[in-house]
Structures are given as C-alpha cells and as structure tokens.
C-alpha cells in the first residue's frame, strides 16, 4: 500500500477520465453504461482513499462507497433494461438512431 | 332591504357555479338537453343570488359590505377576502345576467361537446365573479388568471375557422400583461412588508390604498398593472387581439368577452391600479387620456370600413371602451361615474349586438356585410331588435348608452374642453359606421345571397327573443332611470376620488 493520497487520486482521476471519454465517444448504449460504471468506480476509489487518509471519517467513507455501489447496480439494471427494450423495437444498440423523441 | 347578516352570500355566489360545474361533469354527456337545462338553471340561481346580494346591500353605507374574511396563507398575510361596494355590485349583476343569457343563447349554436362547453362557461363565471369580489390582491390575481382558461377553451374549441390563431393570441397577449402584474403585485407586497415590518395586510386592498408607496415603486408597479389592464380593456395600441378573438369566438363567447371580460380591465383600474398608486396614476393621466382619445376616434374610423359585422362591433368596442379609460383618468366626478355607467351599458348594448349578429349567423353562416341586404324585409323582428341596439350604441338619449357617454363628455369638458371636443366627434363617427352597416345589412333590396337561402332565413325564435328581451328592457331602464346605478356608485366614486387627490386641470399639452 502506498502511503501517498496523491497516488490514489491520480489513479481515480485517470479512471474517471477514461470513463468520461468512453461515455462521450462511444455510440453503443452498452458501452456507455460501462463507461458510467467506470466513472462511478473512480469516484468510489477516491472516496475510499479519502476515508483512509482522514481518520475522523471512520467507517463513513466505506459506507458511502457501498451506497454508490448499490445505486450503480440499480442504475445499471434499469439502464440495461431500457436498452434491451429499445433494442427490441429498433434493432440497434447505437444511441444515434434513437431520434424519434426529437421534433 | 334584505337582512343577510351572517350568511356568506358572496361565497355562495362563487360556490354555486363552481359546484354546478363539478356536478355537470357527472351528467352523462350523451344527454345534451339535460346538460343545457341544468347549466341554465345553475346560472339562473347564481343570478338570483346576485340579486339577493343587491337587496342586502345598503347604498347609504360607505366601504365594503357583505364582507367575508378568512386567513388563507397567514405567513404572507394572504387572505380569502371578499366584499362588494356599489361599483363591484353592479358589475357582479352584469356578469350573472350576461352569463345566463349567454348560456341560453348557446342552446342552438353549440351542438358538439355540450357538457364541456357548459362546464367551461360556469368556471368562467366563477373566475369573473371572483375578480369583482376579491379584496385581496393575491386572490384577485388567481381569479384573474382562472378567467383565461375557460375562455381559451371556448374560443379554441367552439370557435370559427381561424380559432387557434385567435385563441393563442388572446391568451398570450393577456398573459404578458398579467405576468408583469404578478411581479408588480409581489413587489408591492414586499415593499409594504419592508415598510411596516409585517406581512399583515401586504395583499389587502384596503391596507394598500392610501399607504403612500415611494414614487419609483409606484411608477413601475403602476405601469405593470396598467399594461395588464390596458390589454384587457383593450386600449389603443393593445387592442388587436380583440377583433380576432371576437370574430372567431362563438356568439356567447363574444357576448361574455365584450360584456364582462373587457370590464375586468376597467375594474382593475378602479379597484387596484389607481387607488394603490395614486401619484403615478396622476402623473400618467395625461398620456393615458391621449391614448383613450386615440382609441375613441381611431376605433371608430377603423370600424367604418370593416367588412365583417363582428369585426365592426369589435372595433366599436375599442372606441366605446376608450370612454371608460377617458372617464377614469379625467379624475373628475361625473366623468368617473360616466365611465362606470359606460362599462355597464356597453355590456348590455354590445351583448345585445353580438347576440343579434349570432342569430343571423346561425341562419346564414356568414357575417360579411357585402353579402347582406334587405334583412328588414326578410326578418323584421330581428331587424328591429338589431336597430334598437344600434341606436343604443349610437348613444340615443332615452337608451342606456347616452347617459354614460354624456357624463364622460361632461366631466372631461370640465377638466379639458379640447379633449371633450375631440372625443365628441365620435357622436358623428359612431353614427357613420353603425348606420352605414345597418343600412347595408337591413335596408335596400334583398341580396341574392339571402334570396338563395330561401326558407332557412327565418325570423327570431321565441328563445332568441327571450335572450334579447332582458337586455333591451334594461337598456331602456338605464336610459330613462340611470339613478338605479348612479345611486350605487356615487359613494364609491367619491371615496376613490378622495383617495386619488384633487384633479389637475388641463392635462393635454
């Protein structure tokens, strides 16, 4: 275990950047959902790291991380369900094609 | 005099059409005749209650009567506060009268979605009555906006070919004004709270009148209120929504629009804008009088060449309502009394005119003046009725229109003879556009278009006569015995003038 918070934060920032890029660049809905997971995990990492280096926080950091995981799981479930529902209708996972709500 | 102490007459007055509207919702829609009769009954009961309120009212007493005050949103000092003085009382009766007449007049013309129509009408009545009864600015504002919704539906669903354009224009135009008014209203309440340190009475008309707000607030708040009311009246140059709305609205919609809705603006000036911001009202009286004069003359001139009867009457409304604002902002006793009288009389007369136009439209499905001609021979009773209301609108003495108009002239003359001279030109112009229209519609040979209608062109039915008769009778009564209204409004007008301070003479440059 490294003794420096910076290292954790750098890693978290890197993960977050990858997730953000993935979310912005990918056109596939599944890939976008995965990118969101990546960003959430980056945040989780940062939270846990802060909790580790801030003794007064105690177990709270871990609890928040657990919350985030639960929410991420729920989000992924709902998101995937929607994607599957749309996929059945439109036969494509690419979000560009989902334009019927425009106009 | 009827003693109604302890009876919440005004709440009942509001509740009856509201509850009636809810009840109507449960009547099966496939029985339109039942719906119509029920709606008429409800409106008639409301009318009866308003008459009871008149009997319970004591003209000798000053201030508001039949008062009902309940705390509503105590944190901001907002109250459910109802009450009437002579001015609002006559307008309330005008509203309930025109409401039942309009409902009766809709029996024939409205054949689709009768239930929804009648519900809209009753809700509309609640809104209009609420505006006249509210003594709390917040409550007033709510009723003011309620009025918009059913009117929007009435024009938008049961209107003519171009109804969507007209109704959107009507709603947006009116909304622009009233939203600014909401801002001004909140600003006024805030400034009251800051000055007194308490929210108590921050929305109460009685507390705000004579409070003496600082001049800058008065100016801006008055301008915001002015815009809202001027659009509603409508004053030049905010009048263009009116002809469109009238042309597209169904007959009864036009009757209510001209008869009551326009009066909401005039009433707003009397009850709110002028007494709460007296200094600003005085400062701006000059320009407003100029605008009123333009409306009076300009409305009449534009009316001359209108090809459509309804549009012509709409422009005549612009002209006639110009008298209301002229009379109000002359800051003179007779002029103000005349203005209020004119509001009532215009409601009666223009209501009658629109009903007449509607009756002939039912048979011809056309309102183009050029296609008409010789109706006096084909439908003599109709022509007589139309001629009667036209003469009343021209301002024939002995009929309602004259007294109000003359009092406005007279009061204005006492303040500014030139303004009165300009305004009195409408005596000629009014005769020109109305009589010319009447000549083309009713006199001369029967036009080919009308001949082509054959036996469809029948004279008025008894129901139609019944809708016009009360208006005609009141038109005569108000012309011969205007004391009926004048006695009611003299007190409030003097109180208002006292709140406004003395008139400054010679407001025209």
């Amino acid at each position: 275990m490294s003794q420096s918070l910076d290292a954790y934060l750098l890693l978290a920032a890197g993960l977050f950047a990858i997730g953000t890029f993935g979310f912005l660049a990918k056109r596939n809905a599944i890939a976008m959902l995965m990118s969101i997971e990546l960003m959430l995990n980056a945040v989780n990492l940062a939270i846990v790291a802060f909790a580790l280096f801030t003794p007064s926080l105690g177990a709270q950091g871990s609890v928040i991380a657990l919350f985030v995981m639960a929410v991420a799981a729920a989000e992924a479930t709902v998101g995937l369900a929607i994607v599957i529902a749309i996929y059945r209708n439109r036969r494509t996972p690419l979000v560009d094609e989902y334009a019927s709500m425009r106009e | 005099m009827l003693d109604l102490t302890g009876v919440p007459v005004l709440s009942i007055l509001l509740a009856v059409p509201l509850v009636g509207a809810i009840l109507l919702a449960f009547v099966p829609g496939d029985r339109p005749q039942l719906v119509r009769r029920l709606a008429l009954l409800i409106a008639l009961v409301t009318f009866g209650i308003s008459l009871a309120a008149v009997l319970a009212f004591d003209p000798a007493q000053s201030g508001y009567q039949l008062r009902e005050t309940t705390s509503w949103i105590p944190f901001f000092g907002i109250q459910y506060d109802l009450g009437v003085d002579g001015i609002s009382l006559v307008l309330v009766v005008l509203t309930t009268l025109l409401s039942w007449i309009s409902i009766l007049a809709s029996f024939g013309p409205i054949q689709s979605r009768v239930k929804e129509y009648m519900i809209s009408f009753l809700v509309l009545e609640v809104g209009m009555l609420g505006v006249f009864l509210s003594l709390d600015l917040f409550l007033f504002y709510i009723f003011w906006e309620i009025v918009l919704v059913p009117m929007y539906l009435i024009i938008g669903i049961w209107g003519g070919a171009n109804r969507i354009y007209a109704t959107v224009k009507f709603v947006l135009y009116t909304l622009v004004g009233s939203l600014l008014m909401l801002v001004a209203l909140v600003a006024t309440a805030f400034s009251y709270q800051v000055a007194t340190g308490s929210w108590d009475g921050a929305f109460s008309v009685e507390k705000l009148v004579g409070f003496g707000f600082d001049p800058t607030l008065q100016l801006f708040a008055f301008l915001a209120f002015f815009l809202a009311f001027a659009i509603k009246v409508p004053m030049f140059p905010f009048h263009t929504w009116l002809p469109d709305a009238h042309v597209e609205a169904p007959t009864a919609g036009s009757v209510i629009l001209a008869g009551v809705l326009l009066k909401l603006g005039g009433y707003g000036f009397i009850r709110f804008a002028m007494p709460i911001f007296p200094d600003a009202a005085r400062d701006l009286a000059g320009p407003i009088i100029v605008l009123s004069l333009i409306a009076i003359i300009y409305g009449a001139i534009v009316a001359i060449v209108q090809p459509d009867v309804k549009k012509l009457i709409a422009y005549s409304s612009v002209s006639h309502m110009g008298f209301v604002t002229l009379g109000l902002f002359a800051f003179q006793e007779q002029a103000m009394q005349g203005a209020i009288l004119q509001m009532v009389n215009h409601g009666l007369i223009t209501g009658g005119l629109f009903l007449c136009v509607g009756i002939i439209y039912e048979r011809t499905h056309d309102r183009t003046i050029a296609k008409m001609g010789g109706l006096a021979a084909k439908t003599p009773i109709w022509a007589a009725a139309f001629g009667f209301f036209i003469m009343a609108s021209v301002g024939l003495p002995g009929l309602a229109g004259f007294v109000g108009e003359f009092l406005v002239f007279l009061g204005t003359f006492a303040v500014d003879p030139l303004a009165a001279a300009i305004a009195s030109l409408v005596m000629v112009l009014g005769a020109v556009y109305l009589l010319w229209m009447f000549q083309r519609v009713a006199f001369g040979e029967v036009s080919d278009f009308l001949k082509g209608l054959g036996h469809h062109l029948t004279d008025m039915t008894p129901t139609e006569v019944l809708t016009l008769a009360p208006l005609a009778a009141l038109t005569i009564v108000m012309g011969v015995y205007p004391a009926l209204i004048l006695d009611l409004i003299t007190g409030p007008v003097n109180e208002l003038l006292a709140a406004l301070g003395p008139a400054t003479t010679g407001m025209l440059p």
């Binding site: 953000t20 979310f23 912005l24 976008m32 979000v95 334009a99 709500m101 425009r102 | 224009k169 947006l172 135009y173 140059p237 009048h239 263009t240 929504w241 300009y298 001139i301 534009v302 001359i304 060449v305 209108q306 006793e333 007779q334 005349g338 006096a376 021979a377 024939l396 003495p397 002995g398 007294v403 003359f406 009092l407 002239f409 007279l410 003359f413 006492a414 003879p417 009165a420 001279a421 009195s424 005596m427 000629v428 005769a431 020109v432 009589l435 000549q439 009713a442 006199f443 001369g444 040979e445 029967v446 011969v480 015995y481 205007p482 004391a483 004048l486 006695d487 003299t490 007008v493 003097n494």
Partner: protein, 678 residues
C-alpha cells in the same frame, strides 16, 4: 320641485309651480302619443287594415289636451305671465350634475303646441287616406306617434339636456320615417344622411350644453337665464366665451333646421312619405332649431356678435335655397328648398333680434307649408306617385280642392296680403330694416330678404304653373285615372287652408300691437332689454307703409313673371322663353346648371366625406392590420424564430450534453485554479 320654487323666488319673475291638474295634463300630453307608439308596435300587425285606430285617436286626444292648455295659458292666463313648471322625476343624479325630467309650459311653448299638435293631428288624419295602400302602414302610424311624443317633449322640456334628448328622438323618428320605404336604396341613403348630418350639429349642441354647465352649474332654463346675465355682468363670462357658447348651441340649431352648410339632408329627406315631409320636414321638427334659439334668447342676447353671424347665415341660406328652388323639377324638392329658405328667414329674424316675428313666421309657415306639402302629396297621389313636374300640368280642373288649397298656400307663402305669410314676413323684413340703425349690416340683409321674397313668389308660382295650369303633360296611361283624393286627405287640406288665410290677420293685426306680440312679449322681454334695440312706433303712413308697398310689389312682380313664363289658368307657359332667357343672361346656362345641381354641394360632400373619408378610414384599417397588429404578430414571429434557432442546441443526444458538462467543468476548474487562487 323645491329647486324650482327657489329659482323662481330668486329670479323674481320665474314660472310658477304647476298645479296637480296641469301636471297631469302636461304628462298626459306626452304619455298618450308614447303609449300610442308602444301599443301600435305591440299590436301592430294584428290591427289589420285599420292600424290607425290607436294612433289617430291618441293624437286627437293629445290635440284636445294641448288646446285646453293653450287656452289656459294664452287666453285665460291661468298660468301667469311666465308660465308654469314642474319636475316629474330626477333623471340623472350624478353628484354635482343633476338633471331633472322637468317641464316648462309658458307662452312660447303654448304657441309651439298650437303648431305641433294641430298640424300633427291633421297629418295623422291625412295619412289614413294617403297610406291606405301601404302594406305595413301600422309601422307608419307607430312612428308618427313616436315623433309626436318626441316633438312634444322637445317643446315642453324644461332644461337643455332634456331638449337634447328630445332633439335626438325627433332625429330618430325622422330617420325611421324617411327610411319608411327602406327597400328603396335612395330612402336608405337619405335617412342615414339626415341622421349623420344632424349629428354633426348635435356635437356642437352637446358641447354647448357642457359649456353651459361648466360655466353656470345648471341646465334648467329658468336658472340659466338668470345666472348667465349675472355672470356676464359680474365679468366672469367674457364675450369670447359667451359667443362660443351661443355658436355651439346654434350648431345644433343649424343641423336640425338645416341651415347652410348642414342643409344638405333636408332635400334628400323628401324620400319619406309626403305626410312625413309635411309634418316633420316642413312644419314641426325643422323648426326645432328656431325654437331652441328663441327659447335661449336671454343667452343669445348676451352676444351680439353671435347673433349677427346667425342673421348672416340665415340670410345666406335663404337666398341659396331660393336660388336652388328656382330650377328644381321634383315638386317636393321645390317645397323642400322653399322650407330651407323660409327657415333662413326665421334665423335672419332671430339674428337681428326680431324674436317675435321669428316665432310668428314659424307659426304661419308651419301652416301654409304643411298645407303645401299635403297638397303636393295629394297631387302625387292623383298622378300615381309621379313627382316630376314636367309630367304634370293642367291638373287644376281635375283636382279642384287640392288646386284651390294649394293656391291659397302659394299666395300665403308669396306674401300677398291679407294671407298669413304676408304679416310674418313683413314683420321680419321691417324689423331688419329698422334695426339697421344699430347694425349697418342689417340693411344688406334686408335687401337680401327682399330679393328672396321675390324669388319665393316666383318659384312658388312656377310650381303652380307647371303643376296645375296649361296643357297636361301627364302620362297618357295615368291621365284618365286622375281623381281627387278621399275626404281624409282633402279635409286636412281645407282645415289647413283656413289658418293659412286667416292666422296672419288674427295674430298679426294691428301692426305693432298684435296678439302674438302680447303673447310672446313676456318670453322675450329680457332678451329685448339686453340687446337694447328699440322699435320706433308703427307708422302705417310712414316707413312701415313704404316697406309694405315694396314687399308686396316685389312679391307681385315675382308672381307675374312666373305666371307669364309658366302659365296661369288654361293658358300655357312659355318654356322656350325660359331657355332663351337663360341664354341671354351672361353665364345664364352655367348658372342654371349650378342651380339645378344644387350648387354642387352634394358632390362636394360626396368627394369630401365619402371619397376622402373613405380613403382615410381605409388607410387607418390598413395601418391597424399592418403596423399595430404587425408589431404584435412580429413579436410572436421573432420569438418563434428565435426559439426555432435555439432549439437546435437541444439535440436530444445525452453525449452532447455530457460533453457540455465536461467542458464546463474543465473551464470552471481552470478558472478556479489559475484565476481565483491567484
């Protein structure tokens, strides 16, 4: 009521409060015709072929009541020198401005009542015959009753606003009656023109009333007449303001009495049935303006300038109308222009301060002009609704009673003694001449008046000659069917012929000390004192005699020339001479055309108001649509357009938004890091 008692006490010689009987009678006087109108309208069609069973008895009852009141006022003197007054109810109680429905019955009213009710009644009777073939005659009788109500209200009203109300109501009845045959386009145009032209005058009248109220604070006649002189004496009312008030009030009179330039409606009003022309447009309603000025004599007397203008305008109208009457072909139009001309005389009289002769002429003119119109109606009836005099002629032997009565009317209007017109016209001209001492301009007006007298005699005999004398030019199909009218029509003619002969002598003799003078002296006393113009004693063998001789010679000359040109008895006129005569005068043909085309006033009005006014209105409407509504719709368009553009930012792609968020975040971070921390 108490108001009046005070006013009377204040003035010292105001009218007394009416006793209950008089109150009832005066109320009935107006209530009966009104009830007749209402009943006729309600029952109208159910009355079948005899719709006059309500209207005519109602007017006869009115006439009887009126005669009783007249007798009480003028002969018994039961109501005192200054008449009686009472208040029916408070009409408009608007704070300081209080107007009662109050009535004033004095000698002037009584004289007006004689004319209005007598001619009114006779016209009602006449209409039974004249309108017998009309299918909707119930409407006619209903309107006639309405008119009688309005006219009685006009002469009985006790304040200016009530007069104004009656003023407009007679206008309404006139509108309805001119347009009685509404299916005729010309009638529909004429009644509208009459109403609108009258309205122009009414604007002035209304403003005058407002000015009166703002200066004296009341509109009751008796109070105004005491307060105005006080204010003038006190210096509160300057001469300019006073003249302004007078001229505004006079504008109303100009409209109703059809004085130049508001005279254009009266000839067109002949589109109405002939009894209407006789009653409303000759004998009663058109006199309302004269009555108004006479009634307001204490006000008008305060402004000599305004009076001079009235006199000039009256004289101008008189000569203008007479010059048009010379050439008209339509029998009713000749009479219409003659009415204008005679009304001009009355205003000339009022303007020079000859109040009593003005009213005297009103009375005599009412009778003989009513007679002439009814006679012309009988002629028109006889030749089957033909009004063009070129298609008449030689009728004298066929319709004897009509001819005889019309002859009496013609001599009366021409001013040949001892018929009615002579006395009143002579008094007007005589006083104009004598008042020349006070105002030089009156001499000019006197000369104009004399010329008009000659012209009157000429065009009236022209009418007689073309209609009754010489060879017949009647349509051969109609010729054998010419017949005298039924007795309901001839009886009124005869009954009107009697006063046309005798009323001048009865009321106007002896000169300078006549009955009419005694009657009206109390009414006009104050005005005469204010003006301060005194008449010298009558010298029958002096100046007055000379004036009479001149007037009679001028009239006779006119008749003689006309008789030579247009025929008398069996003898035919010489129409070729008329043509060659006009040819010989310089500008003769042009003048003839101008006169025939009524000096192009109608064309001018058409150009000015219909054409030009139409353009103004049309451009105002375009302005309204394009500019005012254009701004509204423009605002809507701009908003819509802007929304349409901005909408494109909303792509609906989450990634685009997310990119925005990311970029925003980065920008904020950079700002925080590099700008704020530094």
């Amino acid at each position: 009521m108490s108001f009046f008692a005070e006013a009377g006490g204040h003035a010292g010689h105001g009218p007394e409060l009416a006793d209950p009987t008089a109150q009832l009678l005066i109320t009935l006087l107006m209530a009966i015709p009104l009830a007749g109108f209402a009943l006729s309208v309600i029952l109208g069609r159910r009355l079948g072929s005899r719709p006059w069973v309500i209207a005519v008895p109602a007017i006869i009852a009115t006439w009887l009541i009126a005669m009783f009141l007249v007798w009480q006022t003028l002969f018994v003197g039961a109501y005192g020198e200054y008449g009686i007054t009472f208040t029916l109810y408070e009409w408009i109680p608007a704070g300081q401005f209080r107007v009662d429905a109050n009535f004033l019955m004095d000698n002037l009213t009584a004289v007006m009542l004689i004319v209005v009710t007598t001619i009114g009644m006779l016209v009602h009777v006449y209409s039974i015959g004249y309108m017998s073939h009309d299918p909707s005659k119930w409407r006619f009788f209903a309107y006639l009753n309405l008119f009688m109500f309005s006219m009685l209200l006009l002469v009985l009203a006790g304040n200016y606003l009530l007069v104004f109300a009656a003023w407009e109501l007679v206008g309404l009845s006139s509108y309805l009656l001119i347009g009685f045959w509404y299916h005729k386009r010309s009638a529909a145009l004429a009644n509208k023109k009459a109403f609108i032209t009258n309205r122009v005058g009414d604007v002035g009248f209304a403003l005058g009333i407002m000015a009166l109220w703002t200066t004296v604070g009341t509109l009751n006649f008796t109070e105004v007449f005491t307060l105005i002189p006080e204010k003038v004496a006190g210096g509160e009312l300057g001469p300019v303001l006073m003249a302004g008030i007078c001229l505004l009030l006079f504008m109303g009179a100009m409209g109703k009495s059809a004085q130049f330039p508001l005279h254009v409606w009266l000839p067109d009003a002949m589109e109405g049935p002939t009894p209407v022309s006789a009653l409303i447009h000759a004998a009663t309603m058109v006199n309302a303006g004269v009555y108004l000025v006479a009634r307001s004599s204490p006000v008008f007397a305060q402004s000599a300038g305004a009076l001079l203008l009235i006199a000039c305008l009256g004289a101008f109208t008189a000569i203008l109308a007479a010059s048009i009457a010379l050439t008209q072909k339509d029998i009713k139009r000749v009479l219409a222009y003659s009415t204008l001309s005679q009304l001009g005389y009355m205003f000339l009289a009022l303007g020079v301060g000859a109040w009593i002769p003005a009213i005297f002429h009103l009375v005599t003119h009412g009778f003989f002009k009513g007679l002439l119109f009814l006679g012309s109606g009988s002629v028109i009836h006889a030749v089957h609704e033909e009004q063009d005099m070129d298609r008449m002629g030689g009728l004298a032997g066929k319709i004897r009673i009509t001819h005889l009565t019309m002859l009496i009317g013609t001599i009366a209007i021409a001013g040949i003694p001892p018929l009615a017109g002579f006395f009143s016209k002579d008094e007007i001209l005589g006083e104009t001449f004598k008042f020349g001492v006070y105002e030089q301009a009156f001499y000019v007006l006197f000369v104009v008046g004399m010329i008009v007298a000659g012209m009157t005699a000429f065009y009236m005999w022209r009418l007689m000659g073309k209609t009754f004398y010489g060879k017949s030019r009647v349509d051969p199909h109609v010729e054998p069917k010419i017949h005298e009218s039924p007795w309901t029509m001839t009886l009124p003619l005869i009954l009107l012929a009697i006063p046309s002969i005798g009323i001048g002598l009865a009321l106007g003799w002896p000169l300078g000390d006549s009955t009419i003078k005694h009657w009206l002296e109390p009414v006009f006393h104050e005005a005469e004192v204010t003006l301060g113009r005194e008449l010298p004693k009558v010298q029958l063998f002096g100046i007055d005699g000379i004036l009479i001789v001149i007037a009679v010679s001028v009239a006779t000359l006119g008749i003689v020339i006309a008789a030579a040109l247009f025929g008398i008895g069996r003898k035919d006129g010489r129409s070729e001479t008329v043509r060659s005569l006009t040819q010989r005068i310089p500008f003769g043909p042009a003048l003839y055309r101008a006169s025939f085309n009524r000096w192009y006033f109608d064309d001018l009005n058409h150009l000015l108001f219909v054409r030009f006014g139409g353009v103004v209105a049309e451009s105002a409407a375009i302005f309204d649509r394009a500019v005012i509504d254009g701004i509204v719709n423009g605002t809507a368009k701009v908003t819509q357009g802007a929304g349409d553009r901005i909408r494109r930012i909303q792509t609906g792609k989450v990634q685009n938004y997310a990119l925005g968020i990311a970029i925003g975040l980065i920008v904020i971070s950079i700002v925080l890091l590099f700008v704020v921390t530094r």
